[in-house]
Structure formats: C-alpha cells, structure tokens
C-alpha cells in the first residue's frame, strides 16, 4: 500500500470562513438530526485524522490538524441544544445579553418584571435559609416553601426549554420558506427565552444548594 492520500482525491476541506453548520454541509436550521450529525462527525474525523497524514507533507499535516480542530469545535457547538441556539442567533447578528456584558449599554431587557420580583423574593428566602443554617437552625416552613419553589422553578425551566424547541420549528419553517420577517421574530423570541432561562437556571442552582440536595 502506497500512501494513497496524495494520489486519490483528498478529503474535502470545509469551505473557507465556514460556519459550524456548513462544516456538516447543513443549512442554518435548529431542529437537527443529531444522530446523523454524530455519524458524519465520526466519519469526517477519521478522514481528516492526523494519524493518516503522519507520512504526508508538513502542509498536509497542518491541514489535517486544522480540519480536526474545526470539526471538533463545530460538533461541540451544535451538539448542545442551547449552545446551538445561541450560536445560530449570534451568526444571525442577534445580540445576546451575555455578549452585551462588555458593552457600555445593553440592547434591551427582555425579562418580564414579574420574573424579577420572583427572583428577588426567592433570593431573600434563600438568604434566610442560609442564615438559619449558619446558626444551626432549621425552619421547616421555610424549607417547605423552598422545596415548593424548587419544584416550581424546575418546572419553569423545563417549560422555557420546551418553548425554545417550539421556536426552533418556527425558525426552521421560516428559513425553509425564506420568510425573513418570521425568522427575525423567532430569533428575537429565542433570545428573550434564553435570557429568562439564565435567571431561572441560577435560581434552580441556588435553591438546590441551599436545600443541600
């Protein structure tokens, strides 16, 4: 066996300046068949794997490394549903609150005031709970309240994630029919849901910590 890589058509490079969707030859859609992507990932990984280019030119070796790392980045970005949604919104030029962190002014606040009030109240209870714990006390009523809050926020969290998936469908449909107004609307709703998700995620985490479970 000679080194066939130099004579046969070399594995295809991802297009220049490629986004992670195009790495897998996918359009910018959200409801993806992750099984198929996983298979493509392993197949492409083998194709461009540095081991196969151990004998090849330095240039080829370099190429193999670059392709491998691009492939890994792309897979990681698309695999996680939330990371994928955030990535797509960024690609589409939507400013996410996280990105605005270093900006002097935020674009807008997407979070409804009722949620802020809830977040604040719950934080007050959590603080009380922690203080009680420090004094070696346990207030059963407070604990019950927090357990209830935990269930409620876990439910809200699941609801937000489900709502994001619903928007995926709308985004995909609008993309397929090339309706940019609907795309924009879906993108904005997803950005708002992601903001909300961040608050609720913090709450779920903090309540869990305070309850020690």
């Amino acid at each position: 066996m000679t080194n066939g890589d130099d004579v046969s058509t070399p594995p295809q490079s991802a297009p220049q300046g490629a986004d992670y969707f195009s790495v897998f030859s996918l359009p910018r859609l959200l409801d993806l068949d992750m099984k198929a992507i996983e298979r493509a990932f392993y197949r492409r990984s083998r194709e461009v794997h540095p081991d196969r280019f151990a004998q090849a030119s330095a240039e080829k070796q370099q190429w193999s490394l670059e392709q491998t790392s691009l492939l890994n980045d792309a897979y990681r970005a698309l695999k996680d549903p939330i990371a994928r949604t955030e990535y797509l919104l960024r690609l589409e030029g939507i400013t996410l609150a996280e990105d605005a962190a270093t900006a002097d002014r935020q674009e807008k606040k997407n979070v409804p005031p009722e949620l802020l009030a809830e977040v604040f109240e719950l934080n007050m209870q959590l603080e009380e709970m922690r203080m009680n714990a420090q004094m070696g006390e346990d207030d059963p009523q407070l604990r019950r309240d927090l357990e209830q809050a935990q269930a409620e926020f876990a439910g809200q969290f699941a609801g937000i994630e489900a709502a994001i998936r619903t928007e995926w469908g709308k985004w995909d449909a609008a993309s397929n029919s090339d309706n940019s107004a609907d795309k924009q609307a879906a993108a904005e709703r997803m950005a708002a849901l992601l903001d909300k998700r961040r608050y609720v995620r913090n709450l779920v985490r903090d309540v869990q910590q305070a309850l020690g479970n």
């Binding site: 609150a97 996280e98 605005a100 962190a101 270093t102 900006a103 002097d104 002014r105 935020q106 606040k109 997407n110 979070v111 005031p113 802020l116 009030a117 977040v119 604040f120 934080n123 007050m124 603080e127 903001d195 961040r198 608050y199 995620r201 913090n202 709450l203």
Partner: protein, 138 residues
C-alpha cells in the same frame, strides 16, 4: 480577577443595605436585573415631597461583588441629591469611581438602571411626569 480597593471596601462593608416601606408614597422602588448573569438588585429611595431631595436610600443586591459595590456606592451618591440631580448619575461615573474592568461594566449599568427605576416609580406614584423620557418602572 483582582477587585479594586474601593470595590472590596464597599463589598465587605456595604452601606445602606436594607428595605424601605414599599407602600409609602414617599418611597420609590427600583427592581432590576442583569440578563447577562441573572443577578438582581433592588434600590429604594425616600424622597421629601416638598424639596424632592432624596433623604434615604437602601439597597439589596443578589449578585457579584461589583454589583454590590455599585449599588452601595449608588445609595451613597443619591442621598442628599434632588431627583433631578440623581438622574444625572451615570454608570460611567460608577465605573470610574470603583475602577471596574470592562467585563464588570454591566454591573454598574445595573446600578444606574436601579436608580432610574426607583425614581421612575416614585414619579409614577406622585404623578410627576415632566421628564417623559424616564422609563417608568412597572
């Protein structure tokens, strides 16, 4: 990341932590959040109805050290100022005073938003409308 001395000072010894009576007509309450990180801040002011001077200010912040320091500083600054003067406090003043790094700018924005929301709430309660551009806290 190293916090500046001023941040550490406000953080370890926050001024004006607490609560004012939300239902009082003299009290304006601003509750704001930073969607970047999910942190929340409440800032309250008590305003003299005659002079429109802010006589008392309290805050409670669930957030990072910079947010706590920013809100602590904000309460110090608004006290003794009129509503109109307090409106001119901007997050850049806070950034400068506390020497906040760029990644912590949003924490100071939160404090500025909180001042404005508290003033907006007070104005709404008292039917003051002349500064129409102020976003009224819901």
């Amino acid at each position: 990341m190293a916090y500046s001395d001023k941040v550490v000072d406000h953080y370890s010894n926050p001024r004006n932590v607490g609560t004012l009576d939300k239902s009082s007509t003299e009290v304006g309450t601003g509750l704001v959040g930073a969607p970047e990180c999910g942190d929340v801040m409440r800032l309250q002011i008590k305003v003299n109805p005659e002079t429109q001077v802010i006589e008392e200010a309290k805050f409670k912040t669930f957030g990072c050290g910079s947010a706590i320091a920013s809100s602590s500083l904000a309460t110090e600054w608004v006290k003794g100022k009129t509503i109109a003067e307090a409106m001119t406090i901007s997050n850049t003043d806070i950034v400068k005073e506390l020497a906040l790094p760029p990644v912590k700018i949003h924490c100071s924005v939160l404090a500025e938003d909180a001042i404005r929301a508290a003033i907006g709430d007070w104005k709404a309660k008292n039917g003051v409308t002349e500064t129409a551009e102020v976003a009224v806290a819901k």
